[in-house]
Amino acid sequence: MKVRVFVYLKKGVLDPQGKAVEHALHSLGFNNASDVRISRVVDLHIKTTEAEEAKKQGEKMARALLANEVIEDFYVEVSA
């Protein structure tokens, strides 16, 4: 199964990258852009045919390594 783990900064945690990108967008003339946040997506294959199982595995990996739960939240999507 294909598993996609979205990892994003918790609400309230400052996003220095997002801030810098927003600033850069403005200086390029995109003045109507705001609330820029940058997240990470980890795509991977899990050797199983069970969507449930794949999702559970993905969540485990996120908790173990892919996300730092002190500052980040995550969610997992599964597709065939």
């Binding site: 945690v13 400052l14 996003d15 220095p16 990258q17 801030k19 810098a20 990470r40 173990a64 390594l65 892919l66 730092n68 002190v70 500052i71």
Partner: protein
Amino acid sequence: MKIGIVVFPGTNRERDMAQAFQVASGQAPEMLWHQQDNVDGFDLIVLPGGFSFGDYLRSGAMAAHSPIMRAVRQFAEKGGYVLGVCNGFQLLTEAQMLPGALLRNAGMRFLAQDCHLKVEGRDSVFTAGWKSGAVFRAPLAHGDGNYTASRDVLDRLEGEGRVAFRYCDAAGRVKDDDEHINMNGSARSIAGVLSENRRVCGLMPHPENLTEEILGGTDGLPLFSGILEALG
């Protein structure tokens, strides 16, 4: 006194660290490969700077799961002393042995210049070499040094005297929103913190690179002489 320096794939300041302890004590620490799962018999474990596992994903994230880290955690739980510098600090937060996290520098660029630090931590071997309130110079070399933690955690750190070092200017002034002083944008200008029992310390700058006149000064030496004196 037995000191171990942990080497992860991608660690690159282990020799600098060993040299600083050598200058301070005349004795060379031992290098410990990250696959080792035992740190018995050591008095101090040091996690040095570098780019463990390339700092890919997040700085220090993958190293936090190396076999040796289980041993280091147990060592700390039993009251062992642990020092993490730069990548070592990032790693200690990833391993949740210290609170908070280190985000990308506010200016989005790697910072490799000298900063000044104010010594604030109380009752800790890591600050014992200085008088409280002392100011010293130290080199920075990092892309992710922007310390963050929840307000509660920050309040607690401050209340318990667990902010070991804070960024300041040469005269000791702290200004959180001045990019020339608090260069990486850290919350409350925090450059280094202590664990609850004050035996685990993490800091971003590199005192180990200022321990000899010929290398530009000895501002960083009190970190090492202080530890050595306190731990005998």
